[in-house]
Symmetry: C2
Amino acid sequence: MTHSRTRGERRRHQTIQEILDHAVAVMDEVGVAGLSMSEVARRVGMRPPSLYKYVPSRLALFDLLFRDGQQANLEAFRAGAEGAPPGLNALAKALQASGRWALANQSLAKLLFSRPVPGFEPSAEAFAPSLEMVADVQQMLRDAVARGELRPEAAGPDGLTIVSILTTGVLSQQLSNEPDAAFDDGRYTRLAPRLFDMFTKYYEVT
Amino acid sequence: MTHSRTRGERRRHQTIQEILDHAVAVMDEVGVAGLSMSEVARRVGMRPPSLYKYVPSRLALFDLLFRDGQQANLEAFRAGAEGAPPGLNALAKALQASGRWALANQSLAKLLFSRPVPGFEPSAEAFAPSLEMVADVQQMLRDAVARGELRPEAAGPDGLTIVSILTTGVLSQQLSNEPDAAFDDGRYTRLAPRLFDMFTKYYEVT
DNA sequence: GTCTATAGCCTGATAGAC
DNA sequence: GTCTATCAGGCTATAGAC
């Protein structure tokens, strides 16, 4: 993706990554909408004006965070599916991996899944990984139908939407009410397999 | 609840209500976490110092908003159940009414269901209506079990948690991705009955 | 209860020297 | 690329006159 050639570019890319890491730490402390350029500059060891050489504005910083977050979440999702037989099994593992990522990256997850910053809309480029993930889910549902695990309507648009509702519901409850729990112990996240089971039974071939 | 006796107290209560109404309008425009005392003062036609005669701090303002929001949501929930046969039917109607309220009061809903303001924790008094609502849901599930509509485990703690996950999932997706839709047309909210059906079938008596 | 005035912060962003 | 200096404003909250 970002293959810097020169030393300068490589160094610059490194600095930007450092900025993003500190930005996440700030959001963890003061909330996503509380992120400030000055505080990030302080932590990264710069005066605020210097930060603007790397990130042109506060909203641009959010866009970088959004893009990296979506990309990381997509990679977690795909890594989760790896090696699993396609269809329901792959979907369950991928969704669980994505959920674990969200629990381990709560500020980024909030930035991606709710819209906590008024005036910020992600750019098309930053949003792209999300579309890839939706396409992956759809394909997994089609695989499940092809294998006879689900009825065809499960791979329709409503089936996809229901999957998104279930996963968002689990995560948003867990993040809001018990953010420090581990995924397997969380009052909400530990019910993820049960909800997946509910979905599966609802659409099982009769 | 708040029965003011004297003219002065009545007037004061009226002013506080006006403050809360304007505060909601501000949150609608700049986000929940963007609420500022100064902006509210401007809109209500006061200088900022005067506002502090009615609300002692910004966090106290959030607490008032939280309490009123919880109360209004509880009232919508109960009004929705009114007249319906107890059990599943009452639960479905109550949850739908609560969902409609959330869609019509998005800023308050975000304040109640997510935790968008770092440093704000609702007081026990402000949180009380939420506990009442949980108790109501639990009772409705028990009624449904008693009527033979659901297996006993549906009224256990996991059943209650699953109900909360389903409703939160629908609402959080709708509010984040398509906030301007009507409840019956929303890409997510219109699937609420289907999700309720999923829940019902999963716990139906075999 | 309302105001003026103000303390003491914070912010995002830019100009221009080095 | 970094800095100092600064603009132009915002904010929460309080003191004290009226």
